[in-house]
Amino acid sequence: MATTNTTDATTTTTATAATDQQQKQQKESDVYDRQIRLWGAEAQKKIQNSKVLYLHVTGSSSEVLKNLCLAGIAATICDPRPASALDSSPCFFTHPTNNNSNNSDEDQENPTKKQKIKYDSVAHAVRPLVEELNPLLGSCPILTKDISTLTGEDLIDFAVVIASQIPLEESVRISKLVPNGCIFYTIDCFGMRGASIIDLGGKEFKYRPEQGKKLLDPIPIKDYVSLPDMVEVPLHKAINRFHKKGPPPTWVMYRSLLEYQRQTTRWLGDGGNNDDNAAAAAAKKIIQEFLKNEQVTMTENDLNDLITAGMAQVAPVCAVLGGMVGNEIIKIISGKGEPANNTILLDGGACKAWTFLVKAKE
């Protein structure tokens, strides 16, 4: 029943443009079908119109990056660290290196070009793989700046900024720089645990609560504590009725690691010094001092585990926390559901995770 074979040359070009657009939309609705069935076409539109900036790509933030890119949220990467920083983290955005050394002759016959490629930075090394992960998002921009030189202008386009392994004072600084309506997140995994700090931007942050399948009218968040304020809350005051004696151990550990970084300007365990007794003792001293000042305690076991693992990232721990943070960011962008506020804490050994509000108990 073909009746429309007579199109003239002038209309063809516009028609092709239209079909290109249509084809892209068709492909998008095919690829995103299973999630559109979950959160609806409107939320998907918001998702596709949002951008996220990643400050450092690590094992944990690469999981968020993967989840959100697959969902259709475009990424911009700022990570000027040398590409080798990726080697020590369980990040699947790494190029196949020659790790199957023990068997193949093939490897010797075709020395793959890939492993010879040198990248200027982590961001450059990761970019081609991010682009490959979801080609519908087009090219992945790189912000070639040092974290410490970022200005408010750099952050203007983004719905969410996610930082990993950046010093606490940088988090404080950047959380103040982000424009209105932009959310600031940190995500870090250490040994069997992981934590996120969340700054929802202001007490006017609104979300639509869910009641079963029903979506209620927007309401503002109940308690808002900005990131700079929240890290000023002494640990012994960060309690609530479910955590009467002190904050969850994971929060204490995360703060201890950030404090260690502040004092030494390097991350605990970086450089493989975990086994070095002297280094471990020094680290222990720093952390014990910090705990004393904050008037909290940590069990000897927890302390030893913390020092042994340091900032070492374990793949499944990263996957769990990265999945949870991904869910939260989708909640925020789609405006559906109550988002976590103002931390997410994961204890991978116990397979438990909480959102915990860090707020000074008077």
Binding site: R37, A83, F92, N99, N327, A350, A353
Partner: protein, 680 residues
């Protein structure tokens, strides 16, 4: 411990949404020996979450691609020693570390098995025994049951997971640790729709969609009598629509298409009007809540004369548009060469999907069923599509690997204990893995609990004493022994509901049925059509104990038969739960109402948790349709409701002793209890 990870042997069943995440985590964690079983090929709708696949992989086997990509993610043995310096260390020494060479590590091998895990010739108990543990990433009850039984028989730990949308669960199954198995709770199996509901008394959109798929078959299948809507033209009762149907099936291409248009019109008219009127005249709907109304002829005429079919996939088509859409589909089909025309509905075929959307909406309007469906939502129902996202899969897979670490740690401790020959202080302490002490049942939820939990972990459940799979419990079965044949019993109950693969049936020690490797099926074939009560060895009567043996899954159980003459409406023996630990509903009320002496709180023993939230992937479930009149079984693809019962959890946020609440009456506001229903 890292050495244990590197040398352990892992089986991963499924390479879909959860499977991809599992393989990524396994590879990045340094596992070197992994085997993967998967049956599927890659579809475009997988790409939003199955991170190992790209669009150029569409159509290729999932397991092969997944293994290839994952292999490349296994980190090199030696990390560069100088941190922060990426200059000139391309020639990374990968094998010069003394530790590594002396450790005799196995080479990296991620091995793909493209096949069905239910294939007994390949995937059996000896196969499973070679692994340290098994991780499941499956999307259907049948395969899960199969893996559950194999792992129980081989006593290999199984880490099970399931996700539906935002929700997920992870649990560990291990025979000798004394924890519940997958089948300790009743699993939702295939959704069953009685044929008469589909043919004459539909009440939900899904019913009319099933009907439309049958109509598709009636018009396009080479064997017209394969359709549930088929009526024998030579039957006693003249059919209202079969004449028009065969006229349309046999219609030739005519010059102006007028004859063909008339043929289409006649079919629609007969189905939506003549047939309905006939049923109305027969008084079929006297007692029904809603009386159907025949399709307005003017709508039919207008729809037939319109030329442009509706194109929106998200708007609901009007009835006229639906008629036009159907007519357009039929015209397209007529000009399509037979070999390119699908005989049966497939949700991914555009024409078939338009056909079913239009036909089901016409039928829904006739029966006053709401809501009508857009093509998009009809596809969700027709294909039984379960929403799925990367995040939940990532969380559950991560939790599975964390549990795997716990298991491997226990295994390592046992190995070290054994090799040092050192018994623990009190000799009886050296008992097995005891995974009940180190693993958890973990729930991933969307809205936090009152105390802020997003992931809740509670100890693994004890086995259900009434479980026929892990506890060898006797199975009670009620049916009419004078009507059921051995054939029906085998297919509907023993293989269908109970999941036996190659059952041997015995009555008082004598065989009445045998199949599988080396079985003499011929000898017992004559028993198949016999009524149960007429079988040899005294037959199956009220009170008979039937013994079932299945070597392929090392399972042996007894079934006690209760005969029942009278059956209500849609009630059928296989709908009864065979494995409920729970007390029957009435009794449960007794327990609750009776103030138990001395007991502070009666906690329900009902296992409400389950990992039956089907993991994302497709779809197209085969669903049983029972014809209660003829006791005939038909299989039809279908969509249905899937439920994931969630367990209510309340515990101290600090992970102190979990207090399990009696969870008999979850209040509506209680967001600890989440029940998800897929739209229907």
């Amino acid at each position: 411990m890292f050495h244990k990870i590197q040398t352990s042997n892992i089986l991963c069943v499924g390479a879909g949404g959860i499977g991809c995440e599992l393989l990524k985590d396994l590879a990045l964690s340094g596992f070197r020996r992994v085997q993967v079983i998967d049956l599927d090929t890659i579809d475009i709708s997988n790409l939003n979450r199955q991170l190992l696949f790209r669009s150029q992989h569409v159509g290729m086997p999932k397991c092969t691609v997944a293994c290839e990509v994952a292999t490349n993610m296994v980190p090199p043995l030696t990390l560069p020693s100088d941190d922060g310096n990426d200059d000139d260390d391309d020639e990374k020494p990968t094998n010069n570390d003394n530790n590594n060479t002396s450790n005799n590590l196995p080479s990296i091998l991620y091995q793909a098995h493209h096949g069905n895990v239910c294939d007994t010739s390949k995937f059996n108990v000896p196969f499973v025994k070679q692994f340290d543990l098994v991780v499941n990433a499956l999307d259907n009850v049948e395969a899960r049951r199969r893996v559950n039984r194999l792992c129980l028989a081989a006593d290999v730990p199984l880490i099970e997971a399931g996700t539906t949308g935002y929700l997920g669960q992870v649990t560990v199954i291990h025979k000798s640790s004394g924890v519940a198995c997958y089948e300790c709770t009743t699993q939702e199996t295939q959704k069953v729709y009685p044929i008469c509901t589909i043919r004459s008394t539909p009440s939900m959109p899904v019913h009319t969609i099933v009907w439309s798929k049958e109509l598709y078959k009636l018009l396009f299948h080479s064997k017209v009598d394969d359709s549930m809507l088929f009526e024998d033209p030579e039957g006693e009762e003249p059919s209202t629509y079969m004449a028009a149907v065969s006229n349309l099936r046999n219609s030739e291409e005519d010059k102006d298409g007028l004859l063909f248009s008339k043929a289409v019109r006649d079919v629609l008219h007969d189905l939506c009007s003549t047939e309905i009127q006939k049923q109305l005249d027969m008084g079929r709907y006297k007692a029904a809540k809603k009386t159907p109304t025949c399709l307005d002829v003017s709508i039919l005429e207008k729809g037939m004369t319109a030329i442009t079919p509706p194109s929106s996939t998200t708007d609901i088509w009007s009835l006229e548009e639906s008629v036009t859409a159907l007519a357009t589909c039929l015209r397209e089909a007529q000009t399509t060469p037979n070999e390119n025309l699908l005989e049966e509905f497939d949700k991914d075929d555009d024409m078939a999907m338009r056909f079913v959307t239009a036909a089901s909406n016409l039928r829904s309007s006739v029966f006053g069923i709401e809501p009508l469906q857009s093509l998009y939502s009809a596809k969700g129902i027709a294909g039984n599509i379960i929403p799925a996202i990367a995040t939940t899969n990532a969380i559950c897979a991560g939790l599975q690997i964390l549990q795997a670490f716990s298991i491997l740690k226990r295994q390592l401790m046992l190995e070290q204990d054994r090799s040092s020959g050192g018994e623990k202080e009190n000799g009886d302490d050296v008992a097995g893995l005891q995974l009940d002490k180190s693993c958890f049942y973990v729930n991933c939820i969307r809205n936090r609990t009152r105390n802020g939990l997003y992931l809740t972990a509670v100890p693994l459940e004890k086995p259900n004493p009434n479980c026929f799979v892990c506890k060898n419990a006797v199975i009670p079965l009620t049916l009419n022994v004078n009507e059921w044949t051995l054939q029906e019993l085998l297919h509907r109950v023993i293989k269908g509901r109970l999941g036996f693969e190659e059952p041997t049936l015995m009555l008082q020690g004598d065989f009445i049925w045998e199949e599988g490797d080396g079985a003499d099926e011929e000898e017992f074939k004559m028993n198949l059509p016999k009524k149960l009560s007429q079988l040899p060895c005294g037959g199956i009567q009220h009170g008979t104990v039937l013994e079932i043996d299945d070597n392929s899954q090392s399972l042996n159980v007894c079934v006690t038969i209760t005969h029942k003459d009278e059956w209500d409406g849609d009630e059928a023996p296989e709908d009864f739960p065979f494995v409920v630990g729970a007390l029957p509903p009435k009794k449960k009320d007794d327990v609750e109402n009776k103030p138990a002496a001395g007991a502070v709180a009666v906690s329900s023993t009902e296992p409400t948790k389950s990992v039956n939230a089907d993991n994302n992937d497709d779809d197209d479930d085969v669903v049983l349709i029972i014809d209660e009149d003829e006791a005939k079984i038909d299989t039809v693809e279908n969509g249905g409701k899937k439920m994931a019962a969630k367990r209510s959890i309340d515990e101290n946020a600090d992970g102190e002793k979990p207090t399990k609440k009696a969870k008999t009456k979850p209040s509506k506001e209680d967001n600890n209890v989440e029940v998800i229903e897929i739209e229907d």
